[in-house]
Symmetry: C2
Subunit: 406 residues, 2 copies
């Protein structure tokens, strides 16, 4: 029941990136569940990872390998998160990398592993390594939807996005895939996002761009407030398009590139929300008029996490008192309740902290009916703002998560 999520885009091939998606039998039969990416030598690779202290084994390995070498391969499995698995989990992640390194002649540290799925079960490492030889034989630079399918868990649709911009007279492509539908409240990154470009970007600049745009995309979405143990987002710039290296995003081609990069990141992040477990609404929560940006961020997330607000959204019920109650408990010290206004899809619902004189139940109902809901809370006490994207809370969410392992 994804909300407004179109079919997978036809992402063009990105020079310097090849991949294959395989069936290793970790998920149900006839489902792709292992994806291997090969990156051109010399590619700049940046990564951001979960802040969950129980981070998964592959996240620990990724961090260590990224610090030591320039990656040449990414290997991703779904169906098992390899988290909460202790020392044997680490060994399994390393063994996967080692097998791929031996098959391709790169060093162990040049392989980055990623896992997503059930937490706490031993990784079926033999299933993964057994498909690596055939994966290497079928590497291609097109057919991105297979890669999108190969990293899905409770996702109902594969997620991809791309943009093209002209740099120094050449068209370069920024494309990527993402996955995730539950345990989504990323903190630094999302439950697997991979963004590739054939532009050339300085390594440090790419890392800073990834971090900055993550804070405007994956770090501003929430489905159920649960930060995953496996969140990882990787950006790769292969440089294979043979254009000048970008080092500065504040002007010229660099600014053009950064804007397109942010669009890809946001489209991938929004796709996760649109396909959120049981989602029937795509909800934008914008808080403005705050003294501090952190107040806006905090209030927006509290609204997006409130089970009462989310069930009212599911029912298309203009029960705005629940939004008001969240604003009051969000912990904004400077809050002046008498200056708060609330709008839903442009309909003024609260003015000066109480029901707007122009509000009617009919108008509220009309505003709540669409699949796309834009909530604006104006705190009326400053000029800082932030925006968060989320979904409603439906019966289907309960069903999916009560039956996830059955």
């Amino acid at each position: 029941m994804a909300v407004g999520l179109g079919s997978f885009p036809v992402i063009p091939s990105i020079s310097g990136v090849r991949f294959a998606a395989m069936e290793a039998g970790i998920k149900k039969a006839n489902k792709k569940d292992v994806v291997v990416f090969e990156l051109a030598e010399g590619s700049a690779v940046a990564g951001v990872f979960t802040q969950n202290q129980f981070c998964a084994a592959p996240v620990r390995v990724c961090r260590e390998h990224l610090a030591k070498a320039k990656p040449r391969f990414l290997v991703i499995n779904t169906g098992n998160a390899n988290a909460g698995t202790g020392k044997s989990g680490l060994q399994n992640a390393l063994h996967t990398c080692e097998t791929l390194a031996n098959l391709t002649g790169v060093s162990l540290e040049q392989v980055l592993p990623f896992s997503t799925g059930v937490i706490g079960e031993p990784l079926p490492v033999d299933k993964i390594t057994s498909v690596l030889p055939s994966a290497l034989k079928s590497m291609a630079s097109e057919g991105w939807s297979d890669a999108g399918l190969g990293i899905m868990t409770t996702d109902t649709l594969p997620k991809g996005a791309y943009r093209q911009v002209e740099i120094a007279g050449k068209v370069i492509t920024i494309g990527g895939i993402s996955k995730g539908a539950g345990m989504i409240r990323p903190n630094m990154a999302t439950m697997l996002g991979f963004i590739f470009t054939d532009a050339a970007v300085d390594q440090m600049a790419l890392q800073s761009l990834l971090k900055q745009t993550t804070d405007q995309s994956f770090n501003r979405i929430t489905i159920d407030s649960d930060t995953s143990t496996n969140d990882s987002c990787i950006a790769v710039a292969t440089g294979a398009a043979q254009v000048p290296v970008i080092t500065d995003f504040t002007q010229g081609d660099g600014a053009l590139f950064a804007a397109a990069f942010l669009e890809v990141m946001q489209e991938l992040a929004h796709a996760i929300v649109r396909d959120g477990e049981g989602a029937t609404k795509f909800v934008t929560v914008e808080v403005k008029g705050a003294e501090q940006q952190s107040d806006a961020t905090k209030t927006a997330f509290e609204i997006a996490h409130s089970p009462l607000v989310k069930t009212a959204l599911f029912a298309s019920d203009p029960n705005w008192g629940r939004i008001l109650a969240v604003v009051g408990r969000a912990g904004v010290d400077s809050l002046n309740v008498d200056t708060v206004s609330i709008f839903i899809n442009g309909c003024e619902i609260v003015r000066e902290g109480g029901r707007s004189p122009s509000y009617s139940e009919d108008a509220g109902q009309l505003a709540m009916n669409p699949e796309e809901i834009h909530i604006v809370v104006d705190l009326g006490s400053g000029d800082q703002a932030d925006t968060v994207w989320t979904t409603d809370f439906s019966h289907e969410y309960v069903t999916i998560n009560a039956e996830y392992r059955t």
Copy 2:
């Protein structure tokens, strides 16, 4: 579908306290929705209220009146919270108090108003004031279940508790009622709790006892993480039993009284959880082995709020990886993931941060089946602990909150 909540206890009459429960037509026909309490002259009255900055009009009036005078009457309506109602809400709360004051000859400030129900609708003040004369004619000191019924919203059962202890050779009674089933994550108090005793307690001592026991009862329960705008908890000591005034709870009769008082508070708080919206489980979350108590409190609440943990509880699914993931994201700086153990109903599930060697899926399933679930998380890094009580997250919760106003 209340969990293990027995029938309403036969609370004895408490000298100095009389009450009446009326049908004012705010809720559906044939439902009691206004309750009036009369307190003996000279009663000590203590109160704790919501920390939600959008506190309701009656909460503001209560705080002001309590600071000015010794209360003689409490007037409570359900069906409408009188919150988010601005200046006219305040006027309506004051008008209710004034009407009761005029009918009884006490001062305006000696009446405390309480409201609970839908947020943002104008208070039907005429309905409330119109039943006050007949309420005053039918005041009685028994029939507490009617008072419990008269303050219910989405509660399925009235909630009451009492204890009796001997002070200076006389039996004194501590009894009370509470309500609440949704928007329950009290911060200072719950969505209406009233505790009465005929013992004599010093005013300052009563306030400190109420605050302290609230932190061990109402402030440690959560159903859906949403702090209400109307939470209020009132303790009344009429002194009508003619026993020595209690000023010290550390020894003798005072200690006996305080222990019984805490038991009543906890029983009333647990009753709210047992009758939580859609609850099929009563869940105790105990976090111990913490360096700081605040770390234990924070971790326990994060587990209790996690939609993924709550849906797994609903399904009786031993998906303990979700608990582990919450511990890792709870924000405990001193967390050492390698010393964490987790037990469910005595079954060791996690040891040293990974799956316990003794764990089996069958044992986990057995542990998750009962209606009463005790989760113990031992952080293994200190001697501080805290306990929080909560419910699971069921289809019924979504249904109740999607259809609340229809």
